[in-house]
């Protein structure tokens, strides 16, 4: 297998497995992530600080006081050429989402115009998409979820918003993401879920995991408010959202 090494300064580099989003490529990324973790547990790969998986690449961060790019890259190459195991795992997760409040969906009209659809067709496209969680990142608990209906593909906004509200549901390219916190962001906001993707009160603060299969369920504002109150109070039964 041929990979590309991309420089991220003198404390990291990225190992790129391909130029597409596919379960096979993502599987290789997660496998190298696991293999480096195992090698480090055995005392190898001195100087590696951590590894950060994404759709089609793995970033390896290192301490230039303990190692160097020139020493580390051949060691990673050797790991890859020894062969990486494939990975598989599925949960089915349903995310309730309210699309009908303009405050929750400020970009719905623009997305409809740019994709030459009605707002209702945009919502239907999102609801019928078969999504898979590819990677966690950007901020704690944020999942990049691929599988958006092709009729809704758009690039991200050219100027990111300074503030996107917590639990906003958004789309761009072939993906959907849900913001775990208020933060800056460049995606199109088409709805909001009452659930929190990161809740530090829970034993497992991060809700979604790589490999999860995911669909959205349309809810009205009243249902949104009811579930939001349960989430806030910590009384929501999260298992109702997940089928193992």
């Amino acid at each position: 297998m041929s990979v590309r090494y991309l420089s991220c300064g003198d404390t990291a580099f990225t190992v790129e497995f391909g130029n597409q989003i596919s379960p096979q490529i993502n599987g290789q990324v997660m496998a190298l992530h696991g293999a480096i973790g195992a090698a480090r547990a055995d005392g190898a790969l001195k100087g590696v600080v951590e590894t950060v998986p994404s759709m089609r690449s793995l970033m390896v961060t290192y301490d230039p006081m303990a190692t160097s790019r020139a020493a580390l890259q051949p060691e990673i190459d050797a790991l890859i050429s020894r062969g990486l195991p494939a990975e598989a795992k599925t949960r089915r997760v349903t995310i309730p989402c309210c699309y009908d409040d303009p405050e929750f969906a400020p970009d719905l009209t623009e997305v409809a115009e740019r994709t030459k659809r009605t707002p209702e067709q945009v919502i239907e496209g999102h609801l019928k998409s078969a999504f898979t969680v590819y990677v966690l990142g950007f901020m704690p608990g944020l999942a990049y979820i691929a599988g958006l209906d092709p009729s809704l593909y758009l690039p991200r906004r050219s100027e990111p918003r300074v503030r996107v509200p917590k639990s906003s549901v958004s789309i761009a390219m072939n993906m959907t993401v849900i913001y775990p916190f208020e933060s800056p962001g460049g995606w199109h906001l088409i709805g909001r879920t009452p659930i929190w993707l990161f809740d530090q009160r829970r034993e497992q603060p991060v809700f979604l995991a790589p490999g999860d299969h995911l669909t959205f369920e349309r809810i009205d504002r009243k249902t949104f408010d009811r579930i939001a109150a349960e989430v806030e109070a910590g009384t929501l039964d999260w298992s109702t959202l997940v089928k193992e």
Binding site: T11, N19, S54, G137, F138, R156, S183
Partner: protein, 352 residues
């Protein structure tokens, strides 16, 4: 009674930071940590602490802190203008930065403004008695985790201290302010320099970029000439499949202006990153103020690694060269006796 520093008046953006939350980026958890690792390391060394202990990162303007402990040794680093010590029974006394100070119960440390930098540090001997989150005390305010209640300091916060009196020892200072370097900021091309046209890369390296008002712990948006992508933005030229973001990554969204991503940066992102600031110059970025101007220059990975190792050796030499610092206004015998009684240990005063 628990020893503490009480926030009488908060500064603009004071957060507890250590060297960062390491090992959780795969869960999407940013590292956070000190914007200027050198300032924190020197403050810790002056206070007699290990290098990785959490200190208070002061953003632009610092807090007023009331000492609620028998005594506490603090160390300040950064260009403060100058800090003051106030007590009910004495006139305010200016104190220097880049050294340690012994404070007593009832005194108020007014940290004040930082001049010519956005960032300064305060370390306390023995550290803060606060719980770590995911192995670190670094505050990550967007998620409300780490530090003091996961946020910047507010009035009436009481920061618990590990020690309720300062360990014995003399006050120390830097022999000279640490030189963070001048001239262009060193960067390494990549990871996505190929997403930019030759002209775009030349613009980035050749032009002056000014720090905009949108500059915080997450990153700095620069203003200046726009950088051309290799493929038109309307055709997805500013989109990549999201990948990991290292410290100092310089992303260029469709609008063409560079954003340098710093301590609180997201773990992955989907804008192309033209270059990455060499780690030797990250502390300089962490100190920039809105309106200041920088230029970028490219070095290789090997050069950047070498520069970093030389800088770390210089930090170690700076610490080895610490000088004894006499109390302002000469040796205060009464104070020395008092502290000896508190400590129960007699030690030699600093040589005159």
């Amino acid at each position: 009674m628990t020893a503490a520093l009480k926030v009488v008046r908060p500064g603009l953006f004071d957060t507890l930071q250590d060297r960062g939350r390491i090992g959780y980026m795969a869960l999407g958890m940013p590292t956070a940590g000190a914007m200027d690792r050198i300032g924190l390391a020197l403050a810790n060394a002056l206070a007699g602490n290990p290098a990785g202990m959490a200190g208070l990162e002061i953003g632009v303007m610092g807090p007023d802190l009331l000492v609620e402990a028998d005594s506490v040794r603090v160390a300040l680093t950064g260009p403060l203008s100058p800090a003051l010590i106030e007590a009910p029974d004495a006139p305010p006394k200016p104190i220097e930065s880049d050294r340690s100070h012994l404070l007593k119960r009832g005194q108020v440390l007014r940290v004040g403004m930082i001049e010519g930098s956005s960032t300064a540090y305060l370390a306390v001997a023995g550290g803060f008695a606060l719980p770590a989150f995911m192995g670190s005390l670094s505050t990550y305010a967007r998620a409300g985790v780490g530090g003091f209640e996961g946020r910047k300091l507010q009035a009436n916060d009481s920061l618990p201290l590990k020690l309720d009196h300062a360990p014995p020892g003399e006050e120390r200072k830097l022999a000279a302010p640490f030189d963070y370097g001048h001239g262009p900021v060193r960067v390494v091309w990549g990871p996505q320099e190929a997403s930019f046209s030759e002209q775009g890369r030349a613009t980035f390296i050749g032009a002056d970029y000014r720090v905009s008002k949108e500059a915080d712990r997450m990153g700095i948006r620069f203003e200046g000439p726009t950088i051309e992508h290799a493929v038109a933005v309307e055709k997805g030229g500013a989109d990549i499949i999201s990948d990991g973001i290292g410290p100092g990554a310089i992303q260029v969204p469709g609008a063409g202006l560079p954003i340098v991503l710093l301590a609180d940066r997201q773990t992955v992102g989907g804008y192309p990153k033209i270059a990455t600031v060499a780690s030797v110059d990250l502390p300089r970025l962490g100190r920039l103020l809105p309106g200041q101007t920088v230029r970028f220059t490219a070095v290789t990975v090997e050069e950047a690694e070498k520069l970093r190792r030389e800088q770390e050796a210089r930090v170690a030499r700076t610490i080895a060269d610490f000088q004894p610092a006499r109390p302002a206004g000469g040796i205060d015998l009464a104070r020395l006796y008092e502290e000896n009684l508190i400590d129960g240990v007699v030690y030699e005063p600093a040589p005159a």
